[in-house]
Symmetry: none
Subunit: 193 residues, 4 copies
């Protein structure tokens, strides 16, 4: 019997893929999202332009592939046993992610691009790192007895203030994670028995 893999011709080069993802990571920090071009990515990666276009259609797509894993890791906070402490830790991680992390810079760039590009909007909806990470914390709280009502709305209530604060360019130092966590708990407190 013949083992047919259906794969004919030269296989995709993993080396080229990695080179492109690393090039995007580097370029985002060096020149920023707007100045990052498909041409520049290909040249930086030492890769043909066609090769980039063959596997990704937008620079947003490459950026997403290059940063989601990092983002998820950075936004995962270990359980402390206390809802307030969990929330505070999460909000602190969120602030750090959005303002300091390369993956956070990528995330903000993608959110920005999504405002005038439906394709990007669809793309980031499929890997909603802020929503997923916040829901993870809230779900754990629920499991431990602290209920928050509708998960999506609670997620927005938790993430929104920080998100807005950072996106509108305010100084992140004035954000007080512990206070925000407490206010959040007060806001959703009535939703539970």
């Amino acid at each position: 019997m013949v083992t047919t893999t259906g794969q004919v011709g030269r296989p995709r080069s993993e080396q080229a893929r990695d080179a492109v993802l690393h090039a995007v990571d580097d370029l985002l920090l060096e020149v920023g999202y707007a100045a990052m071009t498909m041409k520049g990515i290909a040249e930086r990666a030492g890769v043909g332009r066609q090769t980039v276009y063959r596997w990704w259609s937008h620079k947003a797509e490459i950026l997403l592939e290059a940063s989601v894993a990092d983002a998820q890791e950075e936004l995962a906070v270990p359980p402390t046993g206390s809802a307030l402490n969990d929330l505070t830790a999460y909000l602190q991680a969120l602030v750090t992610f959005l303002t300091r992390s390369p993956a956070g810079v990528a995330y903000r760039a993608l959110i920005a691009a999504a405002q005038h590009d439906t394709a990007v909007a669809t793309l980031i909806a499929t890997s909603d790192v802020l929503g997923a990470s916040s829901r993870a914390v809230l779900t754990r709280m629920t499991g431990e007895g602290t209920h928050v009502g509708d998960l999506d709305r609670a997620s927005a209530l938790l993430v929104g203030p920080v998100f807005y604060w950072v996106m509108s360019g305010r100084d992140p130092l004035r954000l007080q994670a512990a206070d925000l966590a407490q206010e959040f708990l007060r806001a959703v407190a009535v939703d539970q028995g």
Copy 2:
């Protein structure tokens, strides 16, 4: 006596200015922010390219000048006498502004551009429509006896959830302005005597 007006040379054409601002308004809705070019604006306005560059350095700058007035008007809510009603009305206006209004589309485009353009970030900091309008509501509440603590943090707490919800492409229909207003009041309740 010498009457020196200080006005030398041909004065700026108000007609050209208006034409550019209207062209930007139109183009934003027709082709979107990304596809809107300085060249396109000039041609649409029937104006020389240099004339555009003479008075504005970015398309963001034009867009801001073309939309702030509208934005401010749309986000001003009349006092109802009740804090809860005021907040609810404001949040409803905010949702409508961000999701339906042309000025809101412009605002989202500007926030997006600000993520990778320091010049735009500086620009929108000088005419912070969401911050100003929300602070107006909160200040009025304070005058009527409902205190909210630090105005900027309260503003972020109020605006943030809606802002995040809309910017990350979620369905605005699921947002419930009245519930959000109540949760907000509960969150900040302790800050006051």
Copy 3:
């Protein structure tokens, strides 16, 4: 054994090259040298602007490439066996070339451009059609027994009067090739034994 062709990337399009050269030929006659622009050439040729700049740096360079072959052909006169007849034929061809031929119009434009553009001056020095063609006639004369001394000075003596006459806008009809040829022979007669 490795067969390295040294050819990397897509090869230059001969079609584009021809289109540009023809466009320049056409435009020179239609709008003249001064009104001929790089943009116009590209559009007329149905070619990208970058493609023109990739292979030529000035319109003069294109014009030269487009006209030298024609110029050389038009200024080559068949031997008649008589020095006087050869010179007369050459001078007649020269007048026709400078006043009637498209290649002559190109040549005059290039000489003009060379007056305020060192790059063009260097360029036309490398393909000096008037000098080369006149020296060809004079060399042939020398081979047939009529010596003219220094070839370059004799060339200037032969070509100069016609060149000056035409370039300063005088009526070419008053130029009498046969008389000029005779005067030339008289002028250089002593230089030989």
Copy 4:
């Protein structure tokens, strides 16, 4: 009684006229003819642009007005009593004029512009400095007994070689004025009794 000159309104400013002519002189040497612009001339002269356009239509026209006087002076050679010496002196002056003099640079620029601008061609025909100066020398020779036949053709025979030599960018040092003068006399010798 009122002295009516027919002149109404502010008279033309001689100061502005001089400033423009000097600016053109300076700019020609500093940046060359091609890079010399009407805008640049006006700014250098400290004069309004409209003022320049009011009195001259081309930069060639200004250049002509600014340099003809100098050109005529530089090409006028004093009589020596000998035809050969007169011709030699004239040819030497001509070489110096065309290769070293600012007025000569202006003249070459104008001849160049005339090749693709009929207006300039007409203009320089009205003040033909090379023709006039050479005819002056030849006329004086005729008066002293050395006939040269048709004045215009003799002028071209005399001026042409030098003109061609310089315009085609050859090294002027190899031109030998005395030899050229002798060859010229030999060429035209038969035209006279």
